[in-house]
């Protein structure tokens, strides 16, 4: 059983702090995805878990054992690299069997394991080829094959699909998901594609600038983002943000309004709130409806008819832009004026520090 425990994990390069104290518990068998913008430290964190980067501070345990000073090979992890890292002069067969050969696994056992991995990944016909004779998706399969033959407790993936085209990426995503179900191993997966994160993860870890912003299931992150960063990062199209102030505080509900919005009541825990305080209202494009007397009035700037829905970009009186996802056959034209209603129960309020207000 190999759960992971990261305690106040830190990494600095010289004076540059890259990972600033990450705390995280990962259960055995969980599929955990690290997401975040480029340069936020996802790869660094993953490589620290793999043992490819030294740990500057904090404690990392795998399966209950502190592994800070352990060599990569002793940590029981396998890693799939973005660049595949296949050995160019070896056949697929030898690439997949490399780790077993290093461990001096008997030949017939090795052969059986390689063929089993090839069967799982449907690449039995590729075993005699060299990596140069493979397509990107096939190479990725080989890289995954090399990871699974060793039957590690923990799989690490660093943006494994980012070199593939969109449709292949979708296929591989499903295959990885299926692999996770079949193997039942712990998987940690790095991506900056939030769709990948949402579809694959049991648990998403949102990172920004070396700090964990929020840990939670995909839906938790979508519906109850902990702060403005997560709210803006998860979900597509992005959440809309409006500046508002508190007009009135009721029991479990506040009424807010702003330069671009007439008063709306939002359910929220009211402790510590004061009338007149400045907040940010977050509302997702899919949680706005067009209504004749909606509190938000805006001018249509761009219309995208996608068939199943219509994505409308609008300009608010203050000049800010918002996006609404309306019905597929909603009649709307460029330059028209629309009235919109945010779905109050799903809207999120953020305080002046960008932290989401609790809901009772």
């Amino acid at each position: 059983m190999a759960g992971l425990s990261l305690q106040n994990l830190q990494k600095t390069y010289g004076k540059v702090e890259v990972i600033k104290g990450v705390n995280l518990e990962i259960e055995h068998g969980e599929f955990v995805v690290f997401v975040g913008p480029s340069g936020c430290g996802k790869s660094t964190l993953l490589r620290m878990i793999a043992g490819l980067e030294d740990i500057t501070g904090g404690e990392l345990s795998i399966g209950g054992q502190v592994v800070n000073a352990m060599q990569p090979r002793d940590r029981g992890v396998a890693m799939v690299f973005q660049s595949y890292a296949l050995y160019p002069h070896m056949t697929v067969y030898d690439n997949v069997g490399f780790g077993l050969r290093i461990k001096k696994t008997p030949k017939d056992e090795r052969d059986a394991k390689i063929r089993e991995a090839a069967r799982i990944l449907q690449m039995e016909h590729l075993l005699d080829r060299k990596p140069a004779q493979l397509s990107g998706g096939q190479r990725q399969r080989v890289a995954i094959g090399r990871a699974i033959v060793r039957q590690p407790e923990v799989f690490l993936f660093d943006e494994p699909l980012s070199n593939l085209d969109a449709s292949l990426r979708m296929d591989m995503r499903m295959e990885i998901s299926k692999l996770h179900q079949d193997l039942g191993a712990t998987m940690i997966y790095v991506t900056h594609d939030q769709v990948e994160a949402m579809t694959l993860a049991d648990k998403i870890v949102v990172l920004n600038a070396g700090v964990v912003q929020q840990v939670g299931s995909p839906l938790e992150l979508y519906h109850r983002p902990a702060n403005l960063f997560v709210a803006g990062f998860i979900g597509s199209p992005k959440m809309n943000f409006l500046d508002v102030t508190i007009d009135e505080i009721g029991s479990g509900v506040v009424t807010v309004s702003g330069p671009d919005m007439k008063p709306v009541s939002i359910p929220v825990a009211t402790d510590g709130l004061k009338v007149g305080a400045a907040l940010t209202l977050g509302t997702r494009p899919h949680q706005m409806q067009a209504a004749d007397h909606g509190p938000i009035t805006a001018t249509v700037a761009l219309v995208e008819h996608l068939g199943n829905e219509t994505i409308v970009s609008l300009r608010l009186p203050s000049g800010k832009a918002i996006v609404a996802a309306l019905d597929g056959d909603f009649p709307v034209t460029h330059g028209a004026t629309l009235h919109l209603t945010p779905e109050a129960s799903k809207a999120v309020l953020f305080d002046a520090h960008g932290t989401a207000l609790q809901v009772t």
């Binding site: 043992g51 490819l52 060599q71 990569p72 090979r73 660049s83 050995y87």
Partner: protein, 360 residues
């Protein structure tokens, strides 16, 4: 757009020829013409300065150079059939000179001299050569190549592996190892003559110091047993930095992730060299082997400055002989013949090397 561009490039062939003209002219004048001339001269009796017209002599130059024969000598017997034994208990043999000087029964050995020989029971078997100095030069050159090519490649590779590490101040070592390459070989040879000096040379002093005065000074360049080795050591020292840089370029072409993948799979340092580094250096190795072999065959400056082929012809080499014959003995034909032979040897070896190291 594209066809038009191609056309304008094609219509400018004249400009192309003009631009490459100077280089082509020089190459023709100093490489191609001399090469063809040497080929032609080697079949004539051309001398550097001679009142007589040049004559075509067929392959006699080559016969002269390559002429070898064997002579089997039986011990002399007395009238009664018993072996003649000298006072010191040695057998007596007929003189070689009797066979090689105007002996009508041994016309094919005429003018040859003893090269080497061995004993077979009481029988003496001698190998004779028509041109002993050339044979010496040939064997010395082959010996030099056989020692220098592998040794220099391996030392250069070891240096490159050491220097490829990310250590503080490693650039100092890179510079130091590369420095001899930048210095003219003539200057290096002059300096090493002082190092090897028989009485107060640096090497003798050093060895005496290290052995607390027990070491007897050796005249490294004046002793037939050590002269060639002295040249070999100095030649390797001088050129190893150059090949180190080529190895280094090859090493840095190997992606780092291959090593990281190997780390995770549990490969030891030796296994990483064996399975990642060495296969990645294959093309570099072929290049280096060919270049070193060619350079080693061209051994000349060191000999010219340090030993002049001596002592006792122990450091004669093919190029040195070619120059000596052509210019000092004014025998252009003989020098050309040696050059042509050298060309054929190097060509053959390069082709064999290419065949042996071909991509399979």
């Amino acid at each position: 757009m594209r066809p038009k561009q191609t056309k304008s490039l094609q219509s400018n062939t004249l400009a192309g020829w003009l631009m490459s003209g100077p280089a082509l002219l020089l190459i023709t004048l100093f490489l191609i013409v001399p090469f063809l001339l040497a080929f032609w001269f080697s079949f004539t009796n051309q001398r550097l300065i001679s009142p007589n017209p040049t004559q075509f002599v067929g392959t006699s130059n080559f016969e002269q150079l390559l002429g070898v024969g064997t002579l089997v000598l039986q011990p002399e017997k007395a009238e009664d059939g018993s072996l003649v034994v000298s006072a010191t208990g040695e057998l007596s043999y007929p003189r070689v000179r009797d066979f090689t000087r105007n002996n009508p029964d041994f016309q094919h050995l005429n003018g040859m001299r003893e090269w080497f020989g061995w004993e077979w029971g009481n029988t003496k078997i001698l190998v004779l050569a028509r041109d002993l100095v050339f044979m010496k030069a040939l064997t010395n050159t082959l010996f030099f190549v056989a020692i220098v090519a592998p040794l220099q490649s391996i030392i250069a590779l070891l240096l490159a592996l050491m220097i490829n590490q990310k250590l503080r101040g490693i650039n100092v070592f890179r510079t130091v190892y590369f420095m001899p390459v930048v210095v003219s070989i003539v200057v290096v040879s002059l300096l090493w003559r002082f190092i090897y000096d028989g009485r107060s040379g640096l090497l003798n002093n050093l060895l005496q110091f290290l052995s607390f005065g027990h070491f007897q000074p050796v005249d490294w360049l004046g002793n037939p047993d050590t002269a060639m080795w002295a040249i070999i050591v100095m030649s390797i020292w001088q050129a190893v930095g150059f090949h180190m840089v080529i190895w280094l370029a090859g090493l840095q072409n190997i992606p780092l992730t291959l090593y990281e993948a190997a780390d995770i799979e549990g490969a030891s340092s030796w296994q990483k060299f064996r399975f990642v580094t060495w296969p990645g250096l294959r093309n570099t190795a072929v290049l280096i082997l060919v270049v070193i072999t060619m350079q080693a065959f061209a051994l000349f400056s060191q000999i010219d400055v340090m030993t002049n082929g001596g002592p006792l012809d122990s450091t004669q080499t093919l190029v040195f002989q070619a120059v000596q014959r052509g210019y000092e003995q004014q025998n252009i034909a003989g020098g050309s013949a040696i050059s042509v032979l050298l060309f054929l040897i190097v060509l053959t070896i390069s082709l064999v090397q290419r065949y042996v190291t071909r991509e399979r």
